[in-house]
Subunit: 718 residues, 2 copies
C-alpha cells in the first residue's frame, strides 16, 4: 500500500479507538454473518488469497453473491476487495460457465454441483493463484459464496480447496406461523417480521437480511403465514404484499409459499361449499391459482393444515386428504407449483391413542397423492415434545414423498430463555433407523428420497424468527435456525460439527471458548428433557400457552389435550402403554423397531414411558426404582443447567458484554424454571408414587397446591 | 497531538473507510442522543472547553449524568473526557452543593433552579475556565447534563453560558396504552417495549435507553399500562415486574404509575362490589396501595379511566367521579402518591353532543376532589382529532388542577407512515386563550397552574413508543415524543424552535437541511388536517382501527362512534351546529370565546364546521362556496404532501441513506393515502352537495362504492 508499517499500526490503532463503541455493538442482529476482523496471523494467511473479485455477466443473484463477498471480505480482512476484470494473483473468481468465461475455461466437473450446488477450488489461471466459486446456476454461486466466507469465518485453510457440495434435499423450507396481525403462534421473539400493513410500499431492509441469512444456509422456500390459516392471505390485497416479499427474496433463491385455508372458497369466494370434488370449488381454486401466479410467477405452492385442531378440510365433506391435496395439486401443476400437505391430523373424536392417528390416516392413502404433493410429517407422532421417538410414518409410505417438519421455535422447550440446542434432537430423528428396507433405513434416507428413490424431497422448520433485534429471541436460539438450515442441506451432517461451526461464526474461534460452549450446546437439550419430561414422559406442560409444568392438567375440551392422558400416572405406576397390551402403537413401526420398543430389556430408557406403563418400583438399569430414577433425572436436569450457568460465567473473556449478559440472564431464568419444573413434577407424581425422595434429594419447597395455583394468563406465543 | 497534519488526515480517512458501514449505521435507535462527531471547526471551538469532567460524591443519578457526559462528549468531540479530581482549564464541573465542594464553593443562585431545574454557567475557578452544571438535586444535574450536551449537539456557543432552567409543570408523564400481552392499543411501532414475560429477571438494556431519552427531555413519570386496564397488573407477579422497571428508571428521575382498573376489588380481590363507598372495597384498596409501596417505595400513583367506553367506574354504583378518585387518593396519600383521573368520559346513553359531556360531568365536581387528585383532560372535547378547539374544561375548574393529555401516537393522523409534526398542534392548544381570567388566560397557564395558583400540575402524552428499532415507527415520529417532552418542561416553548432543535440533533446542523426540513415539519400537520378533515370537520375515519377515510360510517353500537354523527352532511349542508341553535356546546366556553365561535364573521375557518352547520353555497372567506372550499382544501392537503416528498428528495446530501430511504418510502405512502382520503371524502360528500368540482379539480378516479368497499380488518393498533 505504500504506507510504512509503523503508520499502518497507528492507523489501525486510531481506527479502533474511533469506531470501537459503535462498530462492534453486538446485539445479535448480524447472526452468523458477522464478518468481524480475523486475527492478525489469519489475516496474513487469508489476505494474499483474496485480493480481488472477478465477476462475470451480472444477474440479481450474482450481484447478491458479489455484494456478500465484498461485505464479508471487507469485514473479515479489513479492506474492500477490488473488482477486477482479469484474474490476478489471489483473485476470487465466481460465476457459472454461462456468466463467466473464466469459469467456463476451467472445465470444472460441475456435474457434482447439480442444479443448486457449487464447487470451490484453488486453481492456477495463467500462473496466478486463484480461488474459483463455480456452479451450474446463479443460486449455486451464491451458496458457494456463503460457503467460502464460512471457511474464513471458521478459520479453515483456503489455499488448497477442492470442495463440491450439493443439497441432498430439494425443498428446504421455513414455515412461519405468522398471523396477519403480526402475532406469531408459538413465537417468542417479538412480532412477525412481515409488516403487512406497510407492504407492498415499504420493503423493510430486514427482509433482505432475512433472505441473506437463509441463503447462507441454503434455505430455498418460505411459507409466510400460519398453518392455522386466514383466507384473507389469498385476497388480492395480500397477494400484492406477498409478491413484494417474493421480489425481495427472488435473488436469494427463496420461493414464497402460502398456507391455503381449505374453506377459502366459502370465506372469500362466496361459495356454499369447499367440497374438493365440487366443480365450482375446483374452478374457484383454479382461478385463484392462476391469479396468484400473475402476482408471483414463481410461486412455490400451498402449505395446508386440514382437518386438524379445528381447521377445515376435505373430511368435512367425507372426502380424503388425498382428494383435498390432489384438487389443489391439479390447479398448481400447470404453473409448476406443489402442495405441502401436513400429516399432523387427529380426529375430533377421542382416539384410543393420538400418536397412532396420522399413520392410520395416511398409510392407506399411500399411492393416492398426485405427483406434486408432498406430505409434511412432524418428527414425532405427538407434537414437538422435548423428546419423541421418530414418527412411524417415516418409511411407511414408499409411494408418497414425506417432508420432515421440525419445530425450530421452542414451544415445548422453554421458549426463548432456555438454552436448548436442537441439533441433537434433529440428529436423533434423522439417524433413527426405520428398518423399512432393512438395517440402515434411516429417517434421513426417507427425507432425502434415497430409500424409495423419491425425487420430491423436503425438510421444513417452523421458524423462530421475529422482530426481536437478535431475530430469534436469544443468541443461542439462532443456532437452531442455523442447524435446521444446515441439516436441510445435508441431513447427514453432525450436530456437533454444526454447533462448532455456528459458535465460531457467532462468537469466537478461540479453542478455550469453543470446547466448553459446544459441549454445553450438545448437552443442553438433554437437560431440558430431564427437567421437563425424563424417561419418555411427554406433554406435561401447562395448558394452552405451554409455559411451565402442568402434569396435573386434566379435563377440558378433549382428553388428548391434557397431561393425564399422556402420563397415565396412578398408584400402580406411570407411562403410556403403547405396546400391544395397550394402544399397540408400536406395531406402526417395522417389526425390528417394534420389537425393541416393546422389549423392556432392549428399549432405550429415553423412550421408556413413551411406550410402557410401569410400576413405581420397576428397576431402571441404574438399579434404582423407577420413582427414584425419575427424581434423579429431574434433579440432574436442574444440575445440568447450573453447570451451564457456571460454564457461561467463565467465558467472559471471549464474548462481548452485551451478549454475554443476556445469555447469562437467560440461563438464570432457565435455572429457576428448571427447578420449578422439577419441583412441581415431583410434588405431583409423588401423590401417586407415595414414596419418599431418595436420600440426599431435596423435597419440593412448596406443596403441590402452590404449583397448581400458579397462573400465567399472558404468557406469550398464543 | 504530535501527529503531523497530513498523517491526521490519512488516519481520519482510513478510520472512515474502516468503520464507516458499521459505526455510522443509522437505524434511528439513538433518537436525538446521537452524539455524532462535530465538524472540525466546531471541534476546535468546543474541545478546549470540555477537557475533563469534575464530579463530586457519586449517586446513581450523578453516575448517570457522568456516564451521559462521557458518552456525549466522547461521541461529539472524538475523545473520552478524563475524570479529574480538581478543576483544570476547560473542565466541566457537575453536581449539587451537597455532592460537590466545587459547586458549593461557587455560591450559585440555585434558587432559580428549583427542585428539579439546573444552572449551566461558564465560570472561572482559580483562574481556570470551567463550565458548571449545578442543581439543587441530583436529577437537576442530570437534566442539566442533557441540556449541556444539547448545546453542543445544536452547535450553540458554550463559552459564555448563563442558563437557568426549571420545569414549569410538575408531572411530565407518558401514558403507555400497553397491554400485558405486549400489544399496544393505538400503537404503530411494534410491540410494547415492556417484555413482561421476562421481567423481573431480564432487564432489557432498552429500558435504560428509554429512561435516558425521557430524562433528556425532563419526563419524570410513566404509566406503564393501558388505561383500558387489566386488574392483573396489580397482582404480586406484575408488581414485581413493575418494580424491576422502577429500579431501572429511578436514577433517571422517572416514577412509575399504574392504571387501576376500578373493578379490581372484584376481579382480583374476590369482593362482590367495587363501590367506592363500601368499607370492604376501601380496605381492599388500602391494602393494595400498601402492598404496591412495598414493591415500589416511590410509586407515583394510579392513572384511572373510569366510566368511559365500557370501563367500570364509580357511576356503576351511583357514585360520582369524585367519590371514586377520592377513595383512591385516600389510600395513596400516606405514601405521597396521587390519582390521575381521566376526564375522557361519556355516558352509555346517546348524548345530544358528546363534546359537552366531560364538561357537564366535571365542572359540578370542582372543589370536590381530594388534594392529591389531578384530572387529566384531552386537548379537545372529542378525541385527539387532527384538529380540535381546546377543551372547554380548561379554565373552567379553578379549584381542580387539570393535566393536559396529548396523544403522541398518531391514531388519527395517519399512523406511523404519515409525517405529521404535532408540535404545532400542541402549541395551538397551549396558546389558546380561555379568557377565564380575562385576556391572556391561556391553556398553558391552566396547565402550569399559574392561572389559578395551583401547585399540582401535569402534562401527559400517550406514548408512540414500541419495539421498532427506531422506537416510534418512523424517524419523524420521534419528533413528537421530543416536542411533547420539551413542552411538558416548558409549555411556552415554540413548536418551531423545538423542531429546529430536534432536527439538528437527529439529522444535521446544516442550514441547507434545516430550513426546508423545519418548514416541512411546521406545515405537516396542517396538511393532514386538510386531506382528512378540513374546515373543522372531525371523526371521519374508518371504524375501529381508524385507518383511512370512513365519512360514510353509520349505525352500529352508538351514534357518537359514527362519522355521520359528526359531519351531519345532508342536501342542505354540512357541519355540527354547536351554537345555541344546535347543541349549545359553545356556551361551555367563556363568553368572549363563545362569542367568537358563534360568530361566522369572527370564527377562524379552521373551526368552522366544528361549530356550525352551513349550506353548501355558504361563502368562505376565499369567496368560494363551502363545497368548492372543501374540495380546494382536500386537494391542497394532497399537494402539500407531494411538496413534502419533493423537499425530502432534495435532502439526500444531508441524511444517511438508510433513514432517507425510509422517510421517502413513508412519504410516498402518505401521498397515496392522502389522495385516497381526498378522493373518498369528495366522492362521499358530493352525494350531498350534488355540485360539480371546481374547474381544474380532478374528480375521484373511482366511484364512491369502491372506497366504501375497501376493508382492512388487520390494520394495526387495535
Amino acid at each position: 500500500m505504500g504506507v510504512p508499517t509503523f503508520l499502518r499500526g497507528l492507523i489501525i490503532l486510531f481506527a479502533a479507538v474511533l469506531c470501537a463503541p459503535a462498530a462492534y455493538a453486538e446485539d445479535g442482529y448480524d447472526l452468523w454473518l458477522r464478518y468481524r476482523p480475523v486475527e492478525a496471523q489469519a489475516q496474513a494467511r487469508y489476505q494474499p488469497l483474496a485480493t480481488a473479485l472477478v465477476a462475470g455477466t451480472p444477474s440479481p443473484t450474482l450481484d447478491a453473491a458479489q455484494a456478500e463477498l465484498t461485505r464479508g471480505l471487507a469485514g473479515l480482512l479489513g479492506a474492500t476487495p477490488p473488482v477486477a476484470s482479469a484474474v490476478r494473483e489471489g483473485a476470487v473468481v465466481f460465476g457459472t460457465p454461462k456468466s463467466s468465461a473464466v469459469v467456463a475455461g476451467l472445465k470444472l466437473p460441475l456435474e457434482k454441483a447439480g442444479p443448486e450446488g457449487y464447487l470451490i477450488r484453488s486453481v492456477r489461471i495463467d500462473g496466478a493463484r486463484a480461488t474459483v466459486i463455480a456452479a451450474n446456476s446463479d443460486i449455486g454461486v451464491l451458496y458457494g459464496a456463503f460457503a467460502y466466507l464460512r471457511l474464513i469465518q471458521t478459520r479453515q485453510p483456503i489455499d488448497a480447496l477442492d470442495i463440491a457440495s450439493a443439497p441432498k434435499v430439494a425443498l428446504r423450507m421455513l414455515n412461519h406461523w405468522d398471523n396477519l396481525d403480526r402475532t406469531v403462534e408459538r413465537g417468542y421473539s417479538g412480532q412477525s417480521i412481515w409488516d403487512w400493513h406497510k407492504l407492498p410500499d415499504w420493503k423493510d431492509p430486514r427482509y433482505t437480511d432475512y433472505a441473506r441469512a437463509n441463503a447462507s444456509l441454503g434455505i430455498n422456500a418460505t411459507t409466510l403465514n400460519n398453518v392455522n390459516a386466514n383466507a384473507l392471505s389469498l385476497t388480492p390485497m395480500y397477494l400484492e404484499k406477498a409478491a413484494a416479499l417474493a421480489d425481495v427474496f427472488r435473488p436469494y433463491g427463496i420461493k414464497v409459499y402460502l398456507t391455503a385455508r381449505f374453506s377459502a372458497p366459502i370465506e372469500i369466494g362466496g361459495l356454499k361449499t369447499a367440497d374438493p370434488l365440487d366443480p365450482q370449488v375446483r374452478a374457484w381454486w383454479k382461478a385463484k391459482a392462476d391469479e396468484i401466479y400473475r402476482y408471483i410467477p414463481d410461486f412455490g405452492g400451498f402449505t395446508v393444515k386440514a382437518n386438524s385442531e379445528g381447521q377445515p378440510g376435505p373430511q368435512d365433506y367425507k372426502r380424503t386428504h388425498a382428494d383435498g391435496a390432489n384438487m389443489m395439486a391439479e390447479v398448481l401443476a400447470p404453473h409448476g407449483g406443489e402442495v405441502i400437505w401436513r400429516a399432523f391430523v387427529y380426529s375430533h373424536e377421542q382416539p384410543d391413542d393420538r400418536a397412532k392417528q396420522a399413520y392410520d390416516e395416511f398409510v392407506p392413502l399411500d399411492g393416492k397423492f398426485a405427483s406434486n404433493v408432498i406430505v409434511q410429517v412432524k418428527n414425532g407422532a405427538i407434537d414437538f415434545q422435548p423428546r419423541e421417538p421418530f414418527h412411524p410414518l417415516f418409511g411407511a409410505t414408499p409411494k408418497t414423498p414425506l417432508a420432515m417438519e421440525f419445530q425450530i421455535t421452542k414451544e415445548y422447550l422453554g421458549f426463548a430463555t432456555h438454552l436448548a440446542y436442537l441439533g441433537t434432537m434433529y440428529e436423533e430423528t434423522l439417524t433413527a433407523d426405520t428398518w423399512r428396507r432393512g438395517k440402515g433405513s434411516t429417517v434421513a434416507k426417507v427425507i432425502d428420497g434415497s430409500l424409495f428413490g423419491q425425487k420430491r424431497t423436503g425438510m421444513v422448520g417452523v421458524a423462530n424468527i421475529g422482530t426481536d433485534r437478535n431475530w430469534s429471541g436469544s443468541d443461542f436460539d439462532q443456532a437452531n435456525w442455523y442447524v435446521f438450515g444446515r441439516m436441510a442441506w445435508d441431513p447427514y451432517l453432525s450436530a456437533r460439527d454444526i454447533a462448532d461451526e455456528w459458535a465460531r461464526q457467532t462468537f469466537s474461534n478461540d479453542a478455550a471458548f469453543l470446547k466448553p460452549t459446544v459441549d454445553m450446546m450438545m448437552g443442553s437439550r438433554e437437560a431440558v428433557v430431564d427437567y421437563m419430561t425424563p424417561l419418555g414422559l411427554h406433554h406435561l406442560m401447562a395448558r394452552s400457552h405451554h409455559y411451565g409444568p402442568g402434569p396435573w392438567v386434566a379435563g377440558g375440551e378433549r382428553a388428548d389435550w391434557t397431561s393425564v392422558y399422556y402420563h397415565r400416572a396412578d398408584k400402580g405406576g406411570i407411562g403410556f402403554d403403547r405396546t400391544p397390551t395397550g394402544s399397540g402403537a408400536t406395531r406402526q413401526y417395522a417389526p425390528q423397531v417394534a420389537a425393541v420398543f416393546e422389549d423392556l430389556k432392549r428399549i432405550d430408557e429415553k423412550d421408556l414411558l413413551w411406550f410402557h406403563h410401569l410400576p413405581w418400583d420397576y428397576r431402571a438399569r441404574s438399579g434404582r426404582t423407577l420413582w427414584d430414577e425419575l427424581v434423579v433425572r429431574y434433579t440432574g436436569g436442574v444440575a445440568d443447567v447450573t453447570a451451564m450457568r457456571n460454564t457461561w460465567a467463565g467465558l467472559t473473556p471471549y464474548v462481548d458484554s452485551e451478549r454475554h449478559a443476556q445469555v447469562g440472564a437467560f440461563l438464570a431464568i432457565q435455572e429457576k424454571e428448571a427447578q420449578w419444573w422439577r419441583d412441581a413434577s415431583i410434588a405431583y407424581f409423588q401423590t401417586f408414587s407415595e414414596r419418599p425422595l431418595p436420600a440426599g434429594y431435596a423435597p419440593p419447597p412448596k406443596p403441590l397446591s402452590y404449583y397448581e395455583a400458579l397462573s400465567f394468563p399472558e404468557a406469550p406465543g398464543i
